[in-house]
Structure formats: structure tokens, C-alpha cells
Symmetry: C2
Subunit: 197 residues, 2 copies
């Protein structure tokens, strides 16, 4: 049976930007469907009493430096958006308003705009431009993104992520197993390849 791997991410997660760039190479050759699932990490953080890592703390300073190092290692562009973390809710709703393949192309475009170009992807005009760039029907997608069903979908995926144990992003879930972090994709791959250990 073809396996599934759910890639839970928040558009505002810099390590998710790193993960989506490395992902195809890491999971290449595996008989697996990767399900992209944007979630609202803010809700999960609130639930867990967490706050995003902040510059000026040892962990915060490390994280910013480490993201820059990861990005450089992958040969990716990096320009921190002026507002960070930013609100990825509109982008996430638009994601669920699109068909699967277009949704993934749109997600990649949002990550590139946000972290590669430092653009404000909480801005609907920027998102409309990105929708157009991936060939989506901008008006239809924008309208669909406002539907209750689409809003509910995003909330449900966030709830499902929490139920699977997700507390940060990116997270990878397969077979009931959770792997947290862009740096644990190799473990998720090995788990898939070996059927666990």
C-alpha cells in the first residue's frame, strides 16, 4: 500500500521554508504521498502556553543564526520579512481553496516570497499576485478562501495536527509517528523506508 506522509507547516515558520526546499530530495525514490498541510501554529502555541523564540535570548539568537546557516547550506535566498513572525492565516486559507497540485505550487511561492524576498504575505494583494503566478483563478480562489467550509478545514487540520502530537513546525507524521524539525526529515525517510524500527 502506498504510504502517506503529512507535512504540517505554518507559512510563518522559517524552518518550514528550509524543509520544503530540502524535502523532495530527502524523500526521493520512496513510494510515498506527501500531504502538505498548513496549520495555524499560533493556536497550538497558545494551547501549549508557548511564545515564538525571540531575538536577544540565547535560543532566539541561535535560531536566527541557524536558519541563516541552513538556508545558505541549501543555496536558498533569505531575506527576513519586516514583520516576523507574520500571520499566515490568509495564505493557509487560500491553500485549502486550491486543488492539490496548484496548492503545493502556491505554498512554495508563498515561502519563496516570504523568506526568499522578505515580502509581506499577510497582504492579500501580494497573495493575489502569487496566485496568478501559479496559474490559479485569483477571483475564484479568493472567494473560496472566505467560505466557512474552507475556514473550518484549516481549523480542523490544526486540530488534527495537535491530536497527532504536533507542537511545532515543520512536523512530519507517518504511520502515527511524529518527527519534529527540518533536521529530522532523514529519520522520517528512514522510518518510511524500513517500515519503522
Amino acid at each position: 500500500m502506498r504510504k502517506k506522509l503529512t507535512f504540517y507547516f505554518d507559512f510563518s515558520s522559517a524552518y518550514s521554508y528550509v524543509a520544503q526546499a530540502r524535502m523532495d530530495a530527502v524523500f526521493a525514490g520512496l513510494d510515498v504521498d506527501i500531504l502538505w498541510r498548513p496549520i495555524l501554529l499560533g493556536i497550538i502555541f497558545r494551547e501549549n502556553g508557548w511564545t515564538p523564540v525571540a531575538p536577544g535570548t540565547a535560543k532566539g539568537d541561535y535560531t536566527f543564526h541557524d536558519v541563516e546557516r541552513c538556508v545558505r547550506k541549501e543555496g536558498l535566498p533569505l531575506r527576513w520579512p519586516e514583520t516576523f513572525p507574520f500571520n499566515g492565516m490568509l495564505a493557509a486559507r487560500l491553500f485549502y481553496a486550491l486543488e492539490d497540485e496548484q496548492a503545493v505550487a502556491f505554498a512554495r511561492a508563498v515561502f519563496h516570497a516570504a523568506f526568499g524576498e522578505g515580502r509581506d504575505v499577510a497582504n492579500p494583494d501580494v497573495l493575489a499576485e502569487l496566485l496568478a503566478a501559479v496559474g490559479a483563478d485569483v477571483a475564484a480562489a479568493t472567494e473560496r478562501s472566505g467560505l466557512d467550509a474552507v475556514k473550518a478545514w484549516l481549523r480542523e487540520e490544526t486540530t488534527a495536527a495537535m491530536a497527532a502530537g504536533v507542537f511545532g513546525a515543520p512536523s512530519f507524521v507517518t504511520d502515527g509517528e511524529l518527527f519534529w524539525g527540518a533536521d529530522r526529515m532523514e529519520d522520517a525517510r528512514d522510518w518510511l523506508a524500513r517500515g519503522g524500527w
Copy 2:
């Protein structure tokens, strides 16, 4: 010039147990001296207003599960000690009371006793047994471990780790670059091999 890599760890860090088991294979073939440096993570956590991850939280439950998964992947034994986290101060002082090679053998023995066998390595009798097992002069090492100079050495290494940006364990520092986590040793290795990127 031969490079140096400092391996900062706390004996009570389960991911440090994982790291020390994988370490030799990861860094094999590199022209590097690995300096083992036990530190007191409790002091660093206090400084940063942190508490260890606790079971019953999403991150805590994940961490315990993930450690067990990492350990299983490496084919290591695991038996959680009754008291966890435990106080690694006595073991760390004994480490600094020994000569380099014996100190590393002792550190490995402490990790194995604590996490492989679930023994209480805060207990001086257990530590004496481990000292004997690595061929150390138990009485001399125990006496040395109580010297002000040895106590100060442990504090100084902890302070040096903080100055290098360390906020958790295991941490690897080379060339002013900090890599945090057993899962980032490959990045530290690549950094050493390429001279950065």
C-alpha cells in the same frame, strides 16, 4: 592546523547519551580533536528561565518517545533512571578530576549506567564503581573531585559554554559556530569538512 570541536553535554541529558554513541562514526575521518566538556545545564536553564521538558506536555511526550526511537535506531540499550532529570554534578566533577582519555571512558561509562541501565549516577558509590571499571584510582579521583580547582573548572566550562551561546545539550562548538542537538552533528561535521559555508 588541527581543528577542535567542543562537545558540551550534561550527564542528565538523554540526547547527549544518543550523541556520544553516534559521535565517533559521524566525525570519523576528520582531522579534529573532540573535547568532551560536561557542563551544568541546570545553571544555564536557570539563567534562561527554562525548565526541562516534562511528561504530560506535547513536547515532553514527544521528547521521551523520540529519545526511545533514537536509541532504538542506534541499537543502544535504554532504561530510564528512576530520578530524571538527575543531578550530574558529582559525575562532572569526577570527569574533570581524571586525565583526558580516562575522563572520556568514564563519561561513556556514566552515560551507559544512567541511560542504558537506569542506575543512579548521582550516587557516589555507583560513581566509584564506574571509576574502578575504567581503571581509575578511585580514592585519588574522588579526592581530586572535591578540590576547589576542580569545582571551579566545572563552573568555568559552564560559563564558557554560555558565552559560546549554549542553551541546551548536547551542543557542538567549532570555530565559533554552535550546533545544538544530537541531530545536528552531521552539520557540524560538514562545517568542519568544508571549513564552513
